[in-house]
Symmetry: D2
Subunit: 349 residues, 4 copies
C-alpha cells in the first residue's frame, strides 16, 4: 500500500483521506452522505454556486462551504467528487487534475465526444487519477454476473439484453440540457455492454419513439428506444429504454452464452409476498436509481479509496466515458439517418 | 402383458377395458369424464341412487345407466370406479371384488379403521385388485420430488412439512358425515407423509382450533389444525391444515434432508406476471383440488390401466388406507386427550 | 350450431367430425395423436409418400392409410390436417379447399409471399375455411396475457419483447429447405407481434450472426438474430432469436404498457425446487415446442372443432400467414441491405 | 428531543453518544463495528477478560481497552453494549443500570427465567433503559410483514409458521453452555411469535430429535425440533428448528390470516440466476445470521440511538426476554414430560 501524501493518521484507525465535493444537488448529496459515513474518508469541503444548497449539505455532513478554487488550492484535500452540472464535468475534472487531486466524476465526463477526446491528454496526467463513476459496474448483482461470466459459467458470451427503464419521465425542462436520451440515459447501457461483452462494437442501430410525453417529442427528443449493437466477434446486444414504467426502476441484464444464460432480475424492495384471491403479490421494486444502486454508490467510494491508497488505477476512466459517448453519438446518427452506423477504428477506440 | 378376459380388441388400436362407475356426484363425474376420454378405457355403465344424476352423466360420457347389481353381473366389465358416498365405499368395494372386478376406489375406503381391518381379507382376494386413489401420489410435481429423494438428491430425509389448506370451508351440513377434519382432509397428508418418509410412525400429536366457522365448532369439529408425527428413525413431520385460505388451494410439501431440501410450491394457474406500482403480481393459484390435481386424476387412471393390463399391482391399496385411518384416529385421540399418542405395533401395521 | 354434413351422430355423445391427415412426420404425428384422442374428432385416414411412416401412425391411431386423392374424394371427411413438407402446404391446402374440406394447416402456408398472395382467392372459397395453426395464439399463458391486455390491465401497449430461442440447432441438412431463419423460426414471432400489438407494422430491421454452427453460415443462413419492428402508432417490438440455448426452449413475451407491464416467463417442467449449498435450483424448462406448447396443440384442435361446428371462422387464416411472410421477407431484405425496410401498404395488408 | 447528559456536540453534525462494549467475541465485534460506523455513536471503550481480543477490536474500531468497572465509572459514557458470555448478561446489565447507563444487551438476558424474574425490579430503574436486542424485530423484511399485518392486509392473524434452521451445527463443546436448543436458538422464534401474534400463549408442545450430530444427543440436547404453540385466541403457531441445512441460514416466516397470507422467504445473496440444462439456478442464500441480519443489527443501533435521544423506550426489554425464556422452559418441560404444557398466568406474564 502506497502512503498518500494527502492523508493523515488517526489514532486507533486507518488512514483517512480528506475529500471535497463540487455540486450539492441530488447526486452530490448522495455522494456527500456516503463519503461522510465512509470509515476511510472525511468530507471537509463542499462547493456549489447555490450557497444555500451547499450550506445545508455542509451542515448535514460536517463539511464546510468553500469555493471550488479554495478546494483546489488546499493541499490537504486528496480527492474531489464532481457532481456539478454535466456541462461543467470536464472543466472541473481538468482543474482538479491540474491541482493534483484524484477525481471521482459522475458520468458522463462530457456531452461532446470530440471535446472529451481533445482533452484526454489533460485527464491522463500521472498522479491524479480520474475515476468516472458508472454505477452499474459496482452493483453487487451485476458484479456477480460478471464474475460468473469470467469463470466460464455460460461459456462464450454470445448475446446480451439490457432493460433500462425509468419509473417516470423527467420534467420536460430538463430535456434540453440532458444531452438527449442516448447521452443522458442509454449512456449507462453503452458502458455496461462494453464492460460485459468486453469487445469493440462495430455497428449501432437505434429506433425510437415518443410515446410517453409529447412535450419530449416537441423538444426533438424521444422517450422510448430499442437499440441493437454488433460486436467485433458477431456478438449482438439489444438495449431497451423507456422514460416511464409505472412500476419503478426496471433494471435487468441477461447474457446468453454458448453454454447457458445468466440473468440479473429486478430487486424487490422487501422480500415479502402476499397471497390473496388475485394470486401472489411481491413487494414494489426499487423506485429509482437512488434505492436500486444504493450499494453501488457506496462501493464506488470503496473503489475510490483503493485508488487513493494507490492500490489500483480507476476501473473506469476518461476513455470508457469517451467510448460510451461515441456509441451515443452513433445511436443519434442512426436515428437521424434511419440506418445502422458502422463504427470506424477511431470510434471503436 | 397379461391379456385380460374383460377386454376386447379394437381394430387399429390397443386393448380397451370396459369400466363402470358407481356414484355420479362431483368426484364420480370427474373420474367418468377422464375414463371416457382415456384411449384405453371405455366407460359403459353408471350407477347412482339419484337417477337424474346418473342419466345426465351417462348422456355426457356415452355410458348407460345401470343398477350396481347389473354392473356386477356383467362379465364384460373389467373394473369399477367407486365414487359413491364414503360410507358405502367399503361395501361397494367388497361386492366388486366378489364379482371379480378390479376396484378403483376414491379415498378413504372407510371411516372406521376397525371395520376396514376386519374386512382386509375380503379385499385382498387374488384376481381382483383394489386400488385406493390417493391423488397426491400421482401429482407430477410430488412425483418428481419423490424421484429426486430416491435418487439421493438431499441425502437422508430428516423432516417433512406439509401445508394442506382448502380455499373455502364446506357447507356445515357436510361436517357430520365427513368423518371430521382428520379423516376427511388430513387423511391425504397422513398418506403423503407415509409415502415420502417411507417409515412407520411411532407418535402423533395434534392441536386444533375452530377459527374459520363457529358452526363447525358447534358440531364438535375443528377447521384449523397443526400436527407433528414422529417416525421410527426420529424423523419428524409437521402438517398444517386449514379449511379456508382466501387465496385458493394451498398445497405445499417440503422435505429437509441431510444434504439439502426439496420443495414443491403452489402451482399458479397461468405463468403470467403483472408489474405495477404495487410490485409484481402472479396469477391466481389453482382454486381447488379439481384444477390442482387434474393431471393426477388422469394419471390415476393410467395406473389403473396398468393394473388392468396385469403389469403391476395397485401402488396403494387397503392397507395404505388403513394406515392413514389409524393415524387419523390417533390424531383425534390426541386432540381428545391433549397429549401425543404413542402408536403400538398394531397401529403401525 | 350448424349441423355439418361431414359429421355423424354417435349414440350418447356429441357430433363427431371425421378427419384425415396428410404428412406423417413429427408435426403430423403430434396432430394425429391429439385428433385421435379428441372427443369430438375421429381420425380416419393418413396419407404420406412414405408408406411405412403412414402405416405406423395409422396403426397407432386407429386410422387407415390412404392416398391424398382418396381422402379428398371421400365425402365423409370433414377436415384435413396438412402437415406435409412446407413446400407442399399451399398446393395441398388449395386441393382440400377445392374438395370442400376444412383445412388445418401447419404454419407457414408457403415460403413465398408472392405465391401465397396469388392464391389467396383460391384459399378463401366459402364453405371451406382454412385455419393456419400458429401455436402461440393457443397457449394458455399467452392467451391470459392477451386477455389482460384487452381488459386494460396495463393501459395502452407501447413496446413488446419476444424471446424465442430453440434448445439446439437443427441438422444443417434441414437449412436449405427451411426457408431460412426468418421464415422457419421468426415467423412465429411476426405473427405473435401482430396478434398482440394489433396494428400494422411500418418498419422492420434485422441484425443477425452465425454464432452457433458455422455450417449454417456456410449455407448462407444465420442462427442468431435480433430484430426491431415499428408499428403504425410508434409502438416498438424487439425480437430475439437463437437456434441454441443449452437449457431448453426459451419462450418469453413481455409487453410494456402505459400503466404497467405483463410478462409470460418460461414454464418449468415441474414445480420442484432443490436447495443446496450452491443456492436454489428449479426444475428444467420444457425442452422443445412439443412439451412447451402441448396444451396449445390440443387447443388448436378445439378451435378447429368450433370451426367445423360452424360456430366461428378460423382465428388465423391465409392473410395472417401472408402478413408474417411479408415481415420475414422484409427482415431478409433488411439483413441483405443493412438497413431498416419501410413497409408499403401492400406489405402491411 | 430530550438532550442527554452523556452526549456531546460535534461541530457540523448531530449529537454523538459515547458508547462502550463489554465482550469482544463474535457478536461483540459485530456490534462494535456497527457502532463505530454509526454517525450518531462513538465507541470509546471495550472490555473483555481476554485482553488480546479487546486490544485487537479496539485497534480496529478506534476505541480504547478498559476494565468494565472503568467503563461504569466514566460519566461520559451514555450506553453499554453487552455481548459478553450469556451467563454474565444479567449481572453486567444490572451493573450498567446501577451506573445509570442505557443497556443494549444481546439476547437472552439470562438462561434462567426465575433468576431474571427476581431481578426485574433492578432492571427497570428509571433513567437507565434496558434494550434486549432480538434481531428479527429489526429485519426490514419481517418489519414490512408486521406493518402489513397491522394495516389489515390479511385480516385477523390465525396461524403462524416459522422456519429457523442454522447452516451447520455448532462445535459440541458449545452445547453444555448454550442453555440447550430452546434457550439458545428457539428463543428467537418465541419472541418473533409473541411479536407477530401479539397475544399471550396458553399452551406449548415440543417434539425433538437428534438427527444431525449424535454428540449433541450424548450431551442431552437435540438438534432438530418442531413445536406448536397455542395463543389465547386459538391462534396456532408452528416452529421448525434444525441445527443444519446444508444450504445456508433458512429463515422464513408465514402468517395465515382470515383474508390471505403474508410470507417472508429466504433472501438470496445476489439477484443472479443461471439457466442451464438442469434448469434455473438462483444464487446461494445468506449463510448465517451475520449476513442475513446485517441490516437488522444496524437498525438495532438506530433504535438504541432513539432510546438514548429520549425519543422512545426500548421496543423490547427484560419482560420480553422473560416471556421468551418462560416459553423455552415450557418447551423443555414438554419434551421431558412428553405432553403439551399449559401455561398459567405467571408464565404468560
Amino acid at each position: 500500500m502506497t502512503r498518500n501524501i494527502h492523508s493523515e493518521d488517526k489514532p486507533g484507525a486507518s488512514l483517512i483521506h480528506k475529500m471535497a465535493l463540487v455540486g450539492a444537488g441530488r447526486m452530490g448529496s448522495l455522494h456527500a452522505r456516503n463519503a461522510s459515513a465512509h470509515p476511510r474518508l472525511s468530507l471537509v469541503a463542499i462547493a456549489d454556486h447555490d450557497q444555500a444548497l451547499s450550506a445545508k449539505l455542509a451542515a448535514e455532513t460536517g463539511a464546510e462551504v468553500a469555493a471550488y478554487e479554495e478546494i483546489l488550492a488546499d493541499p490537504g484535500i486528496a480527492g474531489v467528487i464532481i457532481a456539478s452540472s454535466t456541462s461543467s464535468h470536464l472543466d472541473n475534472s481538468i482543474k482538479a487534475v491540474e491541482s493534483g487531486k484524484a477525481v471521482f466524476c459522475e458520468k458522463p465526463l462530457s456531452l461532446s465526444a470530440d471535446a472529451l477526446a481533445a482533452k484526454l491528454p489533460d485527464l491522463e496526467a500521472p498522479g491524479a487519477p480520474v475515476f468516472v463513476a458508472f454505477n452499474r459496474r459496482f452493483d453487487p448483482h451485476l458484479g456477480e454476473l460478471k464474475r460468473r461470466l469470467a469463470a466460464g459459467d455460460i461459456g462464450r458470451a454470445e448475446t446480451l439484453h439490457i432493460v433500462n427503464h425509468d419509473p417516470a419521465p423527467p420534467d420536460p425542462a430538463f430535456i434540453p440540457r440532458s444531452g438527449g436520451l442516448f447521452k443522458d440515459f442509454t449512456i449507462h447501457d453503452f458502458d455496461t455492454a462494453a464492460w460485459l461483452l468486453d469487445e469493440p462494437f462495430t455497428e449501432v442501430f437505434a429506433m425510437g419513439s415518443c410515446l410517453v410525453d409529447p412535450r419530449v417529442g416537441a423538444l426533438g427528443d424521444i422517450d422510448t428506444a430499442k437499440l441493437i449493437l454488433r460486436g467485433a466477434s458477431g456478438a449482438l446486444c439489444m438495449i431497451s429504454n423507456s422514460r416511464r414504467t409505472g412500476y419503478g426502476y426496471d433494471q435487468r441484464v441477461e447474457l446468453f452464452g454458448s453454454d447457458g444464460a445468466l440473468q440479473v432480475d429486478n430487486v424487490p424492495g422487501a422480500q415479502v409476498q402476499r397471497l390473496d384471491g388475485a394470486g401472489s403479490h411481491g413487494a414494489p421494486f426499487h423506485y429509482s436509481f437512488v434505492e436500486r444502486y444504493a450499494q453501488a454508490y457506496r462501493a464506488e467510494l470503496d473503489h475510490f479509496v483503493a485508488v487513493l491508497d494507490g492500490q489500483c488505477a480507476p476501473s473506469t476512466g476518461p476513455r470508457d466515458s469517451l467510448r460510451a459517448l461515441r456509441l451515443a453519438d452513433a445511436a443519434e446518427e442512426s436515428m437521424k439517418q434511419g440506418r445502422p452506423i458502422v463504427l470506424g477504428d477511431q470510434e471503436v477506440l
